[in-house]
Subunit: 300 residues, 2 copies
């Protein structure tokens, strides 16, 4: 089943304690769609400027990602982010953000995307995300990410969004900010009371928590000794999760848990190199094998 | 099989964002032995002053814990610790430490404890811990905890200890301090290269990592919405783990993983009230039931 993602498409500059990369391919919709493409046909909707290297679009297309909704805006510049990771490689500082074309992004979905059954609203304002929901009335699974910025400046719109979606994916600090509760188990339940059927709290290197109508659980991150660049791990997680759901169509509690495992494993590959470099070197068998290892790791 | 623990016995004063308790029962050997007593006969070796309330000894004995090695030193005072938890309930500040009788503690084991097959060296200096090893030549499983203090001031003795024990249990920050590696997966492997057959890194609310000759894995903490006081959770974890191992005698990779699950679940009860209050209200069936839930939580 095709999967639609709407979100940021970016050129990232990343500093880690040992290395640095400038203007590499990034953005929430890019990481998401690349990871999801191992599972299901993906439609990417976003906007870039005329500084956007055509090779990036070619790379996405090489994974059969439909880029008909990737608008190239003449005279505009692509969204840029620059960040620096602390030595623990889990916390980071944002050094620069230039929204550029993403600042005015008001997506008009292509006709095929308006039929989407699986919809992921990646990084973007709740107002923008609500606009996408209006254009996808046939969706059977609508999941959104959000950010501290929107919790602070578009809280009402975010609350309206939460009442209309099936699932939400957010960071631990965002869950605390949104609910005012420091305990993540309680925070997760409280977010669910705001509307969505399920809530996923991402904890970076510490894994993810799930809150659904039937169950609450925690899954650890897959332990990799080789963390090179965590940028995009959260979006890759969401891409693996939603990709598996779109592929399997299994929205049962068991299906959701398996989807979280695939998301976890996809994210563990993402962090093993800069940008999409590690994801470019894997195939579906690598994902399956690591999911099998992960399942054994958690069995006793 | 009896299980010997040597470590601190304390009166703790704890402040959380909402409550406070003064001079309550605590100490690494106390939490450890109480949790382990659900699985195996425990021998506790430690020292207290004559300010020690006899009811605490009675409580330990009510769980069939052998307190023959709990020395009451006349004219001395019991070890006291005062700490304050930050709003996240995971990080804490130590406000006061009075080692008192624990400062000169140089355990002479009772004859029965010298036969011990399962030995846990809880909080104490590596010098003290090495002294206990000398007195327990028949041990088949020797596991030690350590602390940042000892890594800083008795590093050589700690390295000597690590070469002589089967397993070590330490916090994430301590693993980083000991190895100088920020990545916990690499840090765990590096600690193992220092001698012990297995290493357990405790991550507080984020669970625990295991590094053995055959496998590396992460287990999340059991998610409880009700974190009242995390004091003693690490020692309770070790008590559940070692208790299960002493009971089952199963030191295989599968046995060790099940032991970590019991430790995780024992710790999840510990944090649900101050001091030993929550542990006092459970029985072995409660531990088994929560381990079953935890196993289901991690199955997909």
């Amino acid at each position: 089943m095709p999967l639609l993602v709407v979100g940021s498409v970016a050129l990232d500059s990343v500093e880690t304690p040992s290395e640095r990369r400038d203007d590499v391919l990034g953005g929430s919709a890019v990481y998401f769609s690349y990871a999801a493409s191992y599972f299901a046909p993906v439609q990417l909707v976003g906007a870039v400027g005329d500084d956007w290297p055509a090779e990036h679009t070619a790379l996405l297309r090489s994974r059969q990602i439909d880029t008909a909704g990737l608008e190239v805006v003449a005279g505009a510049k692509t969204f840029r982010w620059r960040g620096k990771y602390l030595p623990n490689m889990n916390d980071r500082e944002t050094l620069e953000v230039h929204l550029n074309v993403f600042g005015d992004f008001d997506p008009k979905l292509p006709a095929t995307s308006r039929q989407a059954r699986y919809v992921f609203l990646a990084n973007g304002s709740p107002r923008l995300q609500l606009g996408v929901l209006e254009q996808t009335p046939q969706a059977v699974l609508r999941v959104a990410d959000t950010m501290d910025l929107w919790i602070n400046i578009q809280r009402d719109e975010l609350l309206a969004l939460l009442r209309r979606i099936d699932g939400v994916v957010l960071n631990d600090s965002e869950a605390r900010l949104l609910t005012g509760d420091e305990n993540l188990v309680r925070a997760g339940h409280r977010v669910r009371e705001l509307g969505p059927k399920f809530v996923v709290i991402k904890k970076g290197e510490h894994g993810a928590m799930f809150f659904g109508p039937d169950d609450t659980y925690v899954l650890p991150a897959y332990p990799t000794p080789n963390v090179v660049d965590p940028t995009g791990a959260g979006d890759t997680f969401a891409g693996g999760m939603m990709g598996y759901l779109a592929e399997s169509g299994d929205l049962s509690p068991a299906g959701l848990k398996t989807a979280l495992a695939y998301g976890t494993v996809a994210a563990s590959f993402c962090v093993e190199d800069f940008s999409l470099e590690r994801l470019k070197r894997i195939d579906r068998d690598d994902l399956n094998r690591r999911v099998d290892e992960y399942r054994r790791m958690l069995s006793f």
